[in-house]
């Protein structure tokens, strides 16, 4: 790691709902200091206040798949500043340092209860999980891989939406991934989505909403437009549970809300039902 990214990392608190200090994480819900070891046992849910602590993409995959089964795909794909957008290069560098990832999504194959699956997990620490060309490309490649081999796909979403710095290239990733999901689906393959906090914008309006089975974490924000945008444009206060998973489920867009410690079992059960 070079010196610059070291400082960038030191200056930016990486986790949104839990600040990390050495081997401890401070819960943003109740302010308690919790050891990483303890949290690992609790599936990164604060044992004191129940708040869901944001987890990195890699940990997500560990939480959902069989031990040591994950094999990563396309780790080396790195975003370029295609439009020469001001300060985008620096932003990417900071994001890489903060997240210790090359991009906002981690993709690969793994096993769930011994069943082979494709899995992708987005990472909120990388530019708020925003979708640029590399995110779109990696997920598309994963779906194409899964379609060819008749594998189910598990997708864990967290995203602020399309990445502005790549302009129309970002927006078109919505079309690109959606088309790949459709081909996967037309091939009779299973796609399970796990919506986590927050899943919004261009990701909500594409592959996050195209699952055969749509699961969500309790309290996750799921929606197309940002709540502040709506508040501002309509000049009205929003209902308290607006765009929260529970409310979105009442509206008919989520199959089940699954607590973190039950997610692996739930997904394994679903995969089992869809595998001969």
């Amino acid at each position: 790691m070079n010196l610059r990214s070291f400082f960038l990392k030191a200056n930016n608190a990486p986790e949104k709902s839990g600040m990390r200090f050495g081997r401890h994480i401070v819960c943003k819900g109740c302010g308690r200091q919790l050891s990483v070891a303890r949290l690992r046992r609790e599936y990164f849910v604060c044992p004191a206040c129940g708040r869901y602590i944001t987890v990195r993409a890699r940990r997500r995959i560990l939480l959902l798949t069989d031990r040591r089964s994950f094999v990563e795909h396309d780790r080396d794909l790195i975003s370029r500043n295609i439009l020469a957008f001001p300060h985008y290069d620096e932003k990417l560098e900071t994001a890489r340092a903060n997240s210790r990832e090359n991009e906002a999504v981690v993709c690969g194959t793994a096993a769930v209860d011994g069943h082979p699956v494709c899995i992708f997990a987005m990472d909120a620490n990388f530019m708020m999980g925003s979708m640029g060309t590399v995110v779109g490309e990696k997920i598309t490649r994963l779906f194409e891989y899964a379609t060819e081999r008749h594998l189910p796909v598990i997708g864990v979403t967290v995203s602020g939406g399309a990445r502005m710095q790549e302009g129309m290239f970002s927006l078109l990733q919505m079309s690109k991934v959606s088309a790949a999901v459709k081909r996967h689906s037309d091939g009779g393959n299973l796609y399970i989505v796990l919506l986590t906090d927050p899943t919004t914008g261009g990701v909500d309006a594409s592959f996050a909403m195209l699952g055969d089975i749509t699961l969500a974490e309790p309290g996750a924000r799921v929606g197309f437009a940002g709540p502040r945008v709506i508040e501002k444009s309509l000049n009205q206060a929003l209902p308290k549970d607006f765009q929260r998973a529970e409310q979105v489920q009442r509206c008919g867009f989520i199959d089940a809300i699954v607590p973190r410690r039950e997610q692996r079992e739930c997904i394994a059960k679903l995969i089992g039902w869809h595998t001969e």
């Binding site: 399309a162 927006l171 079309s175 261009g202 309006a205 929606g223 197309f224 309509l234 867009f253």
Partner: protein, 251 residues
């Protein structure tokens, strides 16, 4: 003309709206209403008409002209019901092997409590997925504003054309400047950086043609010629080419 001026001009009242183009492109146009689920969104106009000699399904985002009309059409910002109506009519077109022509002019999909609760995200996603395998040619023309996901939902097409004075963008320059620099006054800078004008997008090979603005006659001729070509393709070819078109975006 600066890029931001194109954006503000595209937003201005008094421009030709989609219904002006429809009247010239397909004088025999008949509007068909409703999404068959729960509503009829006036921001989306759909129906059948003849362009050249080809019967087509026309779907348009309409802003309206007078204040009254503009309110009725919700300034061209569609609710999920609008996108679902569009999809219904596209599937009908598929059934009868009619080509689909989409005319896009919207600042974006509507942002509101009811739009969210009725599944704006799902409606757009569904259009993207289902249009990707729709077994009939689809041609989209950005007439003025091409605002983000709300415009994209009618642009999963075999050909994407733009008026010379239109824009197509992932985000409005104002929001972009606000999010990145906390300063909406820098929207002109953002507009420049976003590469949202027709010439820039053509250079990036993200659109297929730049059309002369305010000339529906020429547009009708171009559409007829293009649809005639597209109809010569087998469905397998058509869908594979469509898949490749988006597959290669950025890669």
């Amino acid at each position: 003309m600066a890029d931001y001026d194109i954006v503000t001009a595209a937003h201005r009242e008094g421009r030709l709206t989609a219904s002006d183009y429809i009247a010239k492109l397909a004088p025999d146009f008949m509007e068909l209403h409703g999404d068959r689920l729960c509503g009829d969104d006036a921001a989306v106009i759909g129906g059948i008409g003849t362009i050249g000699k080809i019967p087509v399904t026309l779907i348009a985002l309409e802003k309206g002209k007078t204040t009254e009309e503009r309110i009725r059409h919700n300034f061209g910002s569609a609710h999920p019901e609008g996108y679902r109506k569009a999809l219904r009519l596209m599937q009908q077109a598929e059934k009868f092997r009619r080509p689909v022509v989409c005319l896009v002019d919207t600042a974006g999909a509507f942002c509101g409590v009811d739009a969210e609760e009725h599944g704006q995200g799902r409606a757009i996603a569904d259009n993207l997925a289902k249009m990707s395998t729709l077994r009939t040619p689809i041609l989209s023309v950005i007439l003025g504003e091409g605002g983000s996901g709300g415009a994209l939902a009618l642009c999963h097409s075999d050909r994407i054309w733009m008026m010379e004075d239109a824009y197509l963008s992932v985000v409005s320059p104002e929001s972009c400047a606000n999010i990145l620099w906390k300063d909406t006054a820098r929207a002109n800078e953002a507009a420049e950086a976003l590469a949202l004008t027709a010439p820039k997008l053509r250079r990036l090979q993200l659109i297929d043609r730049i059309c002369k603005a305010g000339d529906p006659k020429a547009l009708a001729a171009d559409i007829t010629a293009e649809l005639t070509e597209l109809r010569k393709m087998t469905f397998t070819e058509l869908l594979e080419t469509r898949y490749r078109k988006f597959r290669t975006a950025g890669y």
